[in-house]
Symmetry: D4
Subunit: 172 residues, 8 copies
Amino acid sequence: MAKVAIIMGSDSDLPVMQEAARILEHFGVEYQLTVVSAHRTPKRMFDFAASAHENGFDAIIAGAGGAAHLPGMVASITHLPVIGVPVQSKTMSGLDSLYSIVQMPPGVPVATMAINGARNAGIMAAQILALNNHELSQRVQAYKRNLELEVLNKAEKLESEGFEDYLNNRNF
Amino acid sequence: MAKVAIIMGSDSDLPVMQEAARILEHFGVEYQLTVVSAHRTPKRMFDFAASAHENGFDAIIAGAGGAAHLPGMVASITHLPVIGVPVQSKTMSGLDSLYSIVQMPPGVPVATMAINGARNAGIMAAQILALNNHELSQRVQAYKRNLELEVLNKAEKLESEGFEDYLNNRNF
Amino acid sequence: MAKVAIIMGSDSDLPVMQEAARILEHFGVEYQLTVVSAHRTPKRMFDFAASAHENGFDAIIAGAGGAAHLPGMVASITHLPVIGVPVQSKTMSGLDSLYSIVQMPPGVPVATMAINGARNAGIMAAQILALNNHELSQRVQAYKRNLELEVLNKAEKLESEGFEDYLNNRNF
Amino acid sequence: MAKVAIIMGSDSDLPVMQEAARILEHFGVEYQLTVVSAHRTPKRMFDFAASAHENGFDAIIAGAGGAAHLPGMVASITHLPVIGVPVQSKTMSGLDSLYSIVQMPPGVPVATMAINGARNAGIMAAQILALNNHELSQRVQAYKRNLELEVLNKAEKLESEGFEDYLNNRNF
Amino acid sequence: MAKVAIIMGSDSDLPVMQEAARILEHFGVEYQLTVVSAHRTPKRMFDFAASAHENGFDAIIAGAGGAAHLPGMVASITHLPVIGVPVQSKTMSGLDSLYSIVQMPPGVPVATMAINGARNAGIMAAQILALNNHELSQRVQAYKRNLELEVLNKAEKLESEGFEDYLNNRNF
Amino acid sequence: MAKVAIIMGSDSDLPVMQEAARILEHFGVEYQLTVVSAHRTPKRMFDFAASAHENGFDAIIAGAGGAAHLPGMVASITHLPVIGVPVQSKTMSGLDSLYSIVQMPPGVPVATMAINGARNAGIMAAQILALNNHELSQRVQAYKRNLELEVLNKAEKLESEGFEDYLNNRNF
Amino acid sequence: MAKVAIIMGSDSDLPVMQEAARILEHFGVEYQLTVVSAHRTPKRMFDFAASAHENGFDAIIAGAGGAAHLPGMVASITHLPVIGVPVQSKTMSGLDSLYSIVQMPPGVPVATMAINGARNAGIMAAQILALNNHELSQRVQAYKRNLELEVLNKAEKLESEGFEDYLNNRNF
Amino acid sequence: MAKVAIIMGSDSDLPVMQEAARILEHFGVEYQLTVVSAHRTPKRMFDFAASAHENGFDAIIAGAGGAAHLPGMVASITHLPVIGVPVQSKTMSGLDSLYSIVQMPPGVPVATMAINGARNAGIMAAQILALNNHELSQRVQAYKRNLELEVLNKAEKLESEGFEDYLNNRNF
């Protein structure tokens, strides 16, 4: 049974939001991914949020851009933790998305990620689920160790190759 | 029967939003004023918006601050014109309110006013209703002429008194 | 007889502003579209605004960028509802346009849309005209239902195809 | 045993951060509250974060202002969910705090709250713990229902008193 | 005959704009000061700008706040140099005023001063008039030398008193 | 003898600043154009500004980007009117340039143009020189009338062609 | 002989800039403190910077607000390290000061501190001098240890008193 | 023995940060360049900073983007001068990087450069080392004179060629 819902306000958010799905797959966490628009499908949004708990979800990742109301509205209806992803907008670089998601009033928190931070939304969901899932906790810890190893590996290569060769040998 | 609904996300918005009521009273436009919170009373918000048309409203003025979702969510549910008032917030001076209200996606417009621009929201509602109400149209036009007269009057006093006396005789 | 005027400060705003015309055509609302520059044709602007009512317009959509004075100046001269569209500028991404349009003083409202939000300007004009036009009201409501259906349709496809195929089958 | 740690970069953050403690008390969630400065006590910060899991914490609430590194650094060391509270700063109104906390790189999420949103940090922590604690879940749901009742109550009073009396009878 | 017009959008701008008058008095430059609102007295604004040249003005200082259209609109009508003063606004600290005044399109410049920079507007007007007025040029140069002397004098006092006494002996 | 100096902080500003030269050529105003860097050639800058008056200049146009000190420093040394052009920067879109130029302290004004507003700088210089040059004044007025005619011409074409053909027949 | 110069653009910056002097006194570092205005005393500024090295200074702390050109101009003239302090301005909260100081072009760095960060400017100067002064290095290290002890001490008190008593016993 | 450490939070910062290495090579200053991530390799970061002094470094250049904690965290652990380079980020143009680095609390300064200002970081490091290295001081002074000569040379060419040829003969 899916534990995490990944929803987004528009399918144009999918190139960003897919990262949440990919990292949850990496962690072996079941998820459902779909489009739920606060502004164009308010009823669907309301029903989705109201039934999220009974549908077995433990956390909801919601991404949206511009006047991004989806994460906050879902959080107003469910008592599950909602993780918000501000999707970069065309005209304001995502500042509108960020402010619309993070500046929630007292009583209705949204756990806000960086602009376009969908991968981190998936990791945060996994960290939350891992509190009650030892195996998942091990995977999250392994993931963090791996991040460290990748950097250490790059540092070693950069130091041994020298920065000029390192740059020439890669595309930045 | 009330023609304009004035709603706000919190009673703490009332010192700002009362200006919309006062100017509608000045124009002789019936209104209802109440608190409807998108985040704390989502069901009330849905019901309010869904029934606004059949309840006889022609326009909805919605004020909110911070992650201000009320105007946009109401606009997503009703086909009536929604006029949004970004209420100045404590930590971001209302930029969060403004961006959350104005940056609506294609399909769901909110007629956004200046930060704290509740009086203008009332005037805009009157301008809309006046399209089909000759007497109200006369009142709106008289109001604008009066704005002009007030400025002309002040200009005359300022020119005749001189700016030093003008400043001394008044509190700024 | 045209009911809505669509004006813009420069013909370089046309790629953005044409969306207002297209959606009004979709709704079957008559409109006139032209260039009126507050800064380069102030007399034309003045005459346009002063005669808008007697010329039969019910609403004016005005788009401009940078120090965007056109919507506010037109609103200062006519008592018709003015809908402002901040056009994205080259050097400030439209923040200058937005602030210049939305921050109007008490007495002279402009119903401000999102940056580049010309389609929404057309929808807002239709919503206003629909208050007194049952058929138009039906069309606006149908448009909103259609927005919903499009999202529901995409959601269904996304859920059945899976996000990877959905992404591969489309250009984002 | 305390389940939630509430840490802040300076005791001058306490007037803001106390709200996290108060709401956790309301929910009956055990917490520890102390000062941990990333910049002035980096070793304490490292030790705190590295031992947080074995010390029995399930979530960490970290508040800081200005170049607010505490939440992100703690998140880099522990695999527990970290909830960040940007504390309003004197010279940048908390924009520096917000950007420093929310814009975390892929791999190390911080669940960011609104500027000064300490109460919401406590609620988010409770929502997370409630996933595995039925009684706490009931309390969180009751809290949300109570938020709703308070607004409904205020709305009723505002409607029956009228806005002028409502304003006169209260301090805003 | 007055050479410089000082106009402002509202008499509430007078506490700021009086500084332009005072410095022109210091330079012995004749001026007229009054209120001209682009938004509330558009006709007065048009007439004022259109007749400014024939009325003998050589430069126009225009101050306004919020969606500050006065300087740009006057500049669109007259070919005289227009000096714009963005007046600090309540909700956006004058950023809206600044952007509305400075971001003029090609063809219609406004010589923009700092937010609340009315004294500098007067000095700029004097610098312009001084190009053709040797005595005024001497006064402007003397003013600048005096600025220098004041700083040198303060520097000397600060160095001889020491900063602690210097602070104690004065109100900052 | 050149009446207007056009200086810029770097030759990389030339693509922007050439517009000032071109419009002055159009007006028949003599100018000198060169590079003067406040930061890399401070002595040249000092000497340039100190001798600008005796070298016969009546106005100085100074363009710079980033921490743009050139216009303000030149204004601190000469009593001639200085017109500042904030050149769009790579990392801050010219906001740094704008703030560095416009926010001058009392006593030392810079007549600030829009970001990249070099053409307007040239027009402002011509407007200033035209106060004492009837022929130039005529040219400036003709230029403004021509701006108007161009817009009227475009408006006529747009109205007669219709917006779709108008768009198709041109590159935007 | 003084090793560090502390200069500021106006004596109104002294309440902020005195912190640099106090911390240098704490470290036993000789300093000279005075007013040097880039805009009102450009010659003094030029001479000060040009002779700073031969006058025995090893570092220059320069504070300024608004269009803050002092640090960058001094850095353009001397090869000594210049530490810039953006002083909070009245109308832009110091953003103008910060951008004017930090966004220096390649070739002329200014070591920029936080807005109003004068104490840190003094510490940075001490850190630089300490590279060649063992005793000063010891004092800087002791200062940092003391920062740590103060936080540890506060943390202990906060933990033992509880946050309510801690708040009640102190003024925040 | 290397005197300057150049570290960055990710190898994706290398295209920017290499400029620090290149200018130090130009000055003949030994450096070490590597990747140290505050968020992904916190232990490496701690060890690096704690041993920087005993490893013979005199200054540390640290570049990072987004929630850029590396410079400030290194500065919290070592007493050496830390020079911070805010690397331009994808979603906020580096404003997040700048605020995260520059807004350090009292006690822990970071000498902040412009966004992407890695070359200036290298120059600042050289200026600091030059205080105790006469030959290096000569090289830094020669570098600054050369900057001046380059501008003078370009100015001469621009003046002799005329701006049109100058532009045509070069790529801008």
